[in-house]
Structures are given as structure tokens and as C-alpha cells.
């Protein structure tokens, strides 16, 4: 009985099967970002209010950047709570910026009105900002610390408690390498 041959065969096959089984434990669409820990790419955004915001001008503050579109269900789901979080945090040297991507300004304005959003909101018609931030699934959120460094990234709808906690960490310049994940929708 060629036991050794049998064991060898078994080992090779089982390791292959284990590798394939590993595939069930991952999301094949997920793309981890290399941006966490790096300086946040600068951008200037035309806001619905008519003003312009420049990221580099916000040094010294914690900036929460949220990419969204009006056609994305998880974005709709998180909108109310995000506004609530903003109202709670707005006196704490924090700026919230919502960047509407792959959508029309009219839709964006309707959305802002619908959810009574008071933080900075604007449409990016060029599609350059999402590429700069490596956006692929929305809502996608970035936390920028007062030194202008990305300290945390969250793909998908974000829990308001986590939002508050991560903002506090961003004030202390604490970085979290592991990305957060919630319900998301691929962009188009």
C-alpha cells in the first residue's frame, strides 16, 4: 500500500480545496485603499450654496469627506443620521463635506432639501475627485486629521456612533489602517 503517495496526493488536493474555499470568505469586489495614512489629495468643490471650498484651506480642522449620489440606496439610508451627527459635532472644529458624484446638481439639491442637510454639499461634475480618492463604492467616507492626513476610510453606510468616535480619533491624529465596511453600492 503506497501510503506515502496517498498522503502526498491528499495533501496537495486538500490544500487546493482549502484555497478555493477561502474564496467564500472574501468579497471579490472589495478594493482596499492605499490612501489611508497618506496626505488627503487636495480639491476644490463648488458648493450648492454658491461658495467654493478648498480642502487645503481647512488645515487644523478635522474634515469628514463623504462621497454619495442620489441614486444610491445606502446613501439615502445614512443621510438622516449623518445630518444628525453633523449637528451634534459642528461646534467641535469639524467640517463635513458631501461630494455628490455621477449625478446631476438638480438631484443633489433636491436631496439636500429633502433631508434638510446643513453641512457643506456640492456636486463634482468632472469626476476627478472620486478618482483622486480611489472611490469605487458609495457612500465612501474619509476622515482627514488636522494635519491633512487621511486617518480612516469607510466604505458603505457608516454608523453614526462610529462617525462620532472616528472624528474624535481624527482630532487626536489616531490612524486606523483597517477600513470600515457597511452596505455599499458600486458606482457606475
Amino acid at each position: 500500500m503506497p501510503i506515502r503517495r496517498l498522503i502526498l496526493t491528499l495533501a496537495v488536493i486538500l490544500s487546493l480545496v482549502a484555497l478555493l474555499a477561502y474564496g467564500f470568505f472574501r468579497d471579490p469586489r472589495y478594493i482596499p485603499s492605499p490612501l489611508v495614512g497618506k496626505p488627503a489629495p487636495n480639491f476644490s468643490l463648488q458648493l450648492y450654496s454658491g461658495e467654493k471650498v478648498e480642502l487645503s484651506a481647512l488645515r487644523g480642522k478635522v474634515v469628514f469627506i463623504n462621497f454619495w449620489a442620489s441614486w444610491c440606496p445606502p446613501c439615502i439610508a445614512e443621510a438622516k443620521e449623518m445630518e444628525a451627527a453633523w449637528r451634534k459635532l459642528k461646534d467641535q472644529n469639524v467640517v463635513f463635506i458631501g461630494v455628490e458624484i455621477q449625478d446631476t446638481e438638480a438631484n443633489g439639491r433636491a436631496f439636500v432639501k429633502e433631508f434638510d442637510i446643513t453641512y457643506l454639499m456640492g456636486n463634482d461634475p468632472t469626476g476627478k475627485i472620486p478618482i483622486d480618492y480611489g472611490v469605487w463604492g458609495i457612500p465612501e467616507s474619509f476622515f482627514v486629521d488636522p494635519d491633512g492626513r487621511i486617518v480612516y476610510k469607510h466604505v458603505g453606510a457608516i454608523d453614526p456612533e462610529l462617525l462620532v468616535a472616528k472624528t474624535a480619533e481624527a482630532h487626536q491624529r489616531i490612524m486606523t489602517a483597517k477600513e470600515g465596511k457597511g452596505e455599499y453600492q458600486s458606482i457606475r
Binding site: 439615502i76 438638480a106 433636491a110 478618482i131 458606482i187
Partner: protein
């Protein structure tokens, strides 16, 4: 001497293949000059982040288009192709490269195949040499042929003889065709003849035997192979082992995968047999629980999962509708409720949801009243029933509403979210003329179409309503736009068509059509009401 030469030739062939290999690698480094071509070449090496598996060059997605534009812009700014690629790697990581950079762990990908191929060739080379040596040591193999013992011996020898025969014939023909020199032919055919003789001699020594003709003699025929055939206990052990292994693996896989966090959608019910008793029950329960807790993302995820498997699940649709209406998306909510009611016209949750939504937003008091009355009759007494009945009283009290079909939506009390949602849409009531109403088909499908121009041209928005009930109150909004990104605005021509049997292939003369008399209308208009009448056969 001659053999050495052949070896050299073979070596030459290998070397040239190797150079070919290396040269084709280096070919990918050469770049075309033209910026557009260059951009295309770069795009072909980048993976579209939002597609299933396409390069940026091949993907039709919006993001890929923007990435292509970005590539061209960067090239025009004078960046080198490598710099452009590095830019995208800095944003999306190495993931974005369709050919992973040959460094670190990825070296395995680049080197292993080449190493394996080379090892394969070398191994085969060695094996060939060993086998050829063996032959060289014993030119006419003394052990040839080496048939098995027993009754297969004769079969074996006969087959061998037939084979040698064929080979001889082929060799003869090749020689005739001029593919072999006299010397080669003589050597090869000589060898074949020696072998044929050896086989013939052995064959003559095998005693003739009579093959078993009847199944009854089977045990005897089996005798020869009995030693080799597996015992049943061996087979049983093997099978039991495989079965256990398979079951173990299956249980292991499902259990571990199930315990994953619920952010993923790949939790499957592995042979649990829940299929028979409502396949989606577990997921539905999860969604209901999430709604109770107010955890909408979780609930949306659960119901979406149900709807992927069963797109017409009335309960999931109704819940979706309720969540959408709470989020202020009236149109989405109405669509969901209508789909739910199409699947089950008496589904209480959808009746209630749609009725209350229509009541609150004042979309169509007649329909609201009908729905709420229906659901009220199905409900047990309780605070919820009281709420419904209050709503019903409100509707009947509002002026002009009670029974006439020409209800005035404006006159109904407006709820807070309604006014915002009503903007950017066209709404109204479509009815069918009295004559046609008598022979409406239950399968009929209503298409409501808004076009930016009369006649031809693509429609801007289309709504498809299976089995509509007339008078049908509708609304068209940005949600119904066909081209993603197109703006639902401006002056639009609103028409509708009722396809009799729901099968647009058959353009029956009984199809109904109609359009708003004061076309075009502004987006935001309400009361865009009109009546459908039999379409003229030429009115397509």
C-alpha cells in the same frame, strides 16, 4: 556522431524558443507614439474598479470613461505612461493593474510557470534519455514482448501483432513516399521484423482456448482477474472515507461561512431544506427584525437579498415600499407597492402602505380610500385600525373628494415630506374610455411614456405597469428615466399605451393609446389626465 548532431539541433530549437519567449516579453515594453493609442494601451492594462472583470479600455462604465479622460489628460501634460500607471496605483493600489508588478509575492505568478515549464522540459529530457539508454544497452530487447500471465496473454500478443503490422505498413508507405532513406528504412524495418518474430513465436506457444460464450461461465472468466478486482469491503471503506470527508468539508464550509458578519450576501442555506417551507423566510425574518430595531440598512440588505432570489416577493416589496416612503421617496415607494400588489392583490401590508402614502401625500384620494377600506376590513381592531379609520374619515371629509373620479389632489391635506417629493414629477390619472373598458384584459400592460419631442426620438422616461386598474393614477419622475444621468426636466410629451395581452410583439388592433391633450407639459405638472382609446392601426 550523428546523434550528437541531432542533440545540437534540438538544443538549437529550444534556445530559439527561449529567445522567442524573452523577446515577446520585451515587446510589451515598446509603446506607440500617438497619444490616443498610448492612452488606449495604458487603459488596457488597468482594471475598471467598478466592473466585474473588464479593463478600463473595454468598460462602458462612467468611471472608466472618466479614467480614460484622465489618462489622456495626464499624457498630454507630458507624463510618461509609467507615471500615469503609478498615479492610478497610488489611488487604487496594485489591484488596478491587470498584470501584477513582478515583485514580492507576485514573483510566483511570473516565475513559477516559466520554472515549471522549464522543469517539465528538463525532466522529460532526462526521462527520454534514460529510456533511450535502456534501449541502447539491450538493442533487441531480450524481454520483448512481456505479456501478462493468464488468459489475457493471448489477447495481449494478438494486439501487439496487429500493432506491429500496422506500423510496418506505415513504414513501408513512408518509404515509398520518399520520407526515409534506404538505410533508415532498413534499420527500422529490421527491428520491426525482429519484434514481429518474437511476438509470433510466443503467440504460437500459447495454447488455443475457447472464450466463454455464456454468462453462466462468467465466474471462470473472472478467475484471471480475481486477484486484482477490489474486494467490496475495500470499496466500502473508500466510499465511507470519501463520504465522511465530503460531509465534513461541507459542514465545515457552511458553518464557518455562515458565522461571517452579515455585511456579505453570500450566506447560503446549504441543503437545509428550508426551500420547501418558503425559501426566503429566514431572510425575511431578519429584515422584519431589523425594521423593528430601526436598522434600515440591515433591513434593506435583507429584503434586497430576498428580491434577488424572488423578484416578486410581495412582503419584501411592501417593506421596501414602506422604507422608501419613510425616506420620502414617494415614487419608488409607489412602484414597490404596485409590484407587491401585482404579485398579491390582497397583501395587507402593501394595501396599508400604499393607502397611507396616497392619503398623506394626497396623490389620489379615490385610490387611497379604496385601498384603506379594503385593508381596514381585513384588520383586527387596535390602534393601527383606528389610524386607518381616522385616515378614511379625513379623506371623506375633504371637499370634492368622496366619490367622484375627478378628485382634486391639491385639496387633500399634505404631509410634510410629500411636497418635496412631488417636485420634479409629472402626475395625473389615466382612464380608459367607456367602450373599451368593457373588454379590458387582465394581462394588459400599461406603458406611460414621456418624450422630449413629438414623434420619433428616444423616450426620456417610461413606466411599465402590469395589470393596471383604471382609473390609474400615475406619476413620472427622475426615477423612470431610461438613460442614466439624463435630466428629467423641461417640456415633455406624455403619452400612454395599453398593450392588450401584455405582449408587445402582437400589435393587436385592440391595443389602446392616448396622449395628454395639452402636450407638451412642464415637469412638475399635476393633473396630466387623459383617456385611452383604441389605437388606430397605423398609429405606431
Amino acid at each position: 556522431m550523428r546523434r550528437e548532431k541531432l542533440k545540437a539541433v534540438l538544443l538549437g530549437v529550444f534556445l530559439s524558443l527561449l529567445t522567442a519567449h524573452l523577446l515577446t516579453y520585451s515587446l510589451h515594453a515598446t509603446q506607440p507614439a500617438d497619444v490616443e493609442q498610448q492612452a488606449h494601451a495604458i487603459a488596457a492594462e488597468l482594471r475598471c474598479p467598478v466592473c466585474q472583470n473588464l479593463s478600463v479600455a473595454d468598460s462602458p462604465s462612467e468611471l472608466a470613461q472618466q479614467m480614460r479622460a484622465s489618462i489622456e489628460e495626464q499624457l498630454r501634460q507630458g507624463k510618461s505612461p509609467d507615471e500615469v500607471k503609478r498615479f492610478f496605483v497610488s489611488k487604487y493600489g496594485d489591484w488596478v493593474l491587470l498584470a501584477p508588478p513582478a515583485k514580492g509575492f507576485n514573483l510566483i505568478l511570473w516565475l513559477l510557470p516559466a520554472v515549471a515549464a522549464l522543469c517539465g522540459v528538463i525532466l522529460v529530457g532526462f526521462a527520454l534519455r534514460r529510456w533511450a539508454r535502456k534501449k541502447a544497452v539491450q538493442p533487441t530487447d531480450a524481454a520483448y514482448p512481456s505479456p501478462p500471465a493468464g488468459e489475457d496473454r493471448r489477447d495481449f500478443l494478438a494486439a501487439e501483432q496487429a500493432r506491429l503490422d500496422t506500423e510496418m505498413r506505415e513504414l513501408d508507405f513512408d518509404f515509398q513516399a520518399g520520407k526515409l532513406s534506404d538505410a533508415d528504412y532498413a534499420a527500422l524495418s529490421g527491428e520491426l521484423k525482429v519484434q514481429e518474430a518474437a511476438v509470433g513465436k510466443q503467440l504460437a506457444a500459447v495454447p488455443q482456448y475457447i472464450a466463454p460464450r455464456h454468462p453462466a461461465e462468467k465466474p471462470k472468466a473472472r478467475a484471471g482477474s480475481e486477484a486484482r478486482a477490489p474486494k467490496n469491503w475495500q470499496l466500502a471503506t473508500g466510499a465511507a472515507f470519501l463520504l465522511l470527508l465530503g460531509l465534513g468539508l461541507g459542514v465545515l464550509l457552511t458553518q464557518s461561512v455562515r458565522s461571517r458578519d452579515s455585511g456579505d450576501t453570500m450566506t447560503g442555506d446549504f441543503l437545509t431544506g428550508t426551500q420547501a417551507a418558503g425559501p426566503q423566510e429566514a431572510t425575511l425574518a431578519r429584515g422584519r427584525a431589523a425594521i423593528e430595531k430601526g436598522d434600515f440598512p440591515q433591513a434593506i440588505e435583507a429584503f434586497k437579498q430576498v428580491l434577488t432570489a424572488d423578484p416578486n416577493n410581495p412582503e419584501a416589496l411592501a417593506y421596501m415600499g414602506i422604507m422608501l416612503s419613510q425616506a420620502g421617496h414617494k415614487d419608488g415607494a409607489l412602484t414597490a407597492f404596485d409590484r407587491s400588489l401585482a404579485a398579491d392583490p390582497n397583501f395587507p401590508l402593501a394595501l396599508w402602505g400604499k393607502g397611507m402614502l396616497l392619503y398623506r401625500t394626497g396623490g389620489d384620494p379615490v385610490e387611497a380610500r379604496r385601498l384603506l377600506e379594503k385593508v381596514s376590513s381585513m384588520m383586527p381592531a387596535g390602534p393601527e385600525k383606528t389610524e386607518v379609520q381616522n385616515a378614511l374619515t379625513q379623506i371623506s371629509q375633504s371637499p370634492g373628494a368622496p366619490t367622484t373620479a375627478a378628485a382634486k389632489p391639491e385639496s387633500v391635506p399634505q404631509a410634510g415630506t410629500g411636497s418635496a417629493a412631488a417636485e420634479g414629477q409629472i402626475a395625473g390619472v389615466i382612464d380608459v374610455d367607456a367602450k373599451a373598458k368593457a373588454n379590458l384584459d387582465a394581462r394588459a400592460v400599461l406603458f406611460i411614456i414621456a418624450k422630449p419631442s413629438r414623434g420619433g426620438g428616444p423616450p426620456l422616461a417610461v413606466k411599465k405597469v402590469p395589470s393596471p386598474k383604471f382609473p390609474f393614477s400615475y406619476s413620472l419622475s427622475a426615477k423612470d428615466v431610461m438613460m442614466p444621468g439624463a435630466v428629467f426636466s423641461g417640456k415633455l410629451y406624455v403619452t400612454a399605451r395599453l398593450d392588450k395581452d401584455g405582449d408587445p410583439l402582437t400589435h393587436s388592433p385592440e391595443d389602446l393609446a392616448g396622449e395628454y391633450s395639452k402636450n407638451p407639459v412642464d415637469v412638475g405638472s399635476k393633473k396630466v389626465d387623459f383617456v385611452l382609446a383604441p389605437a388606430r392601426p397605423d398609429a405606431r
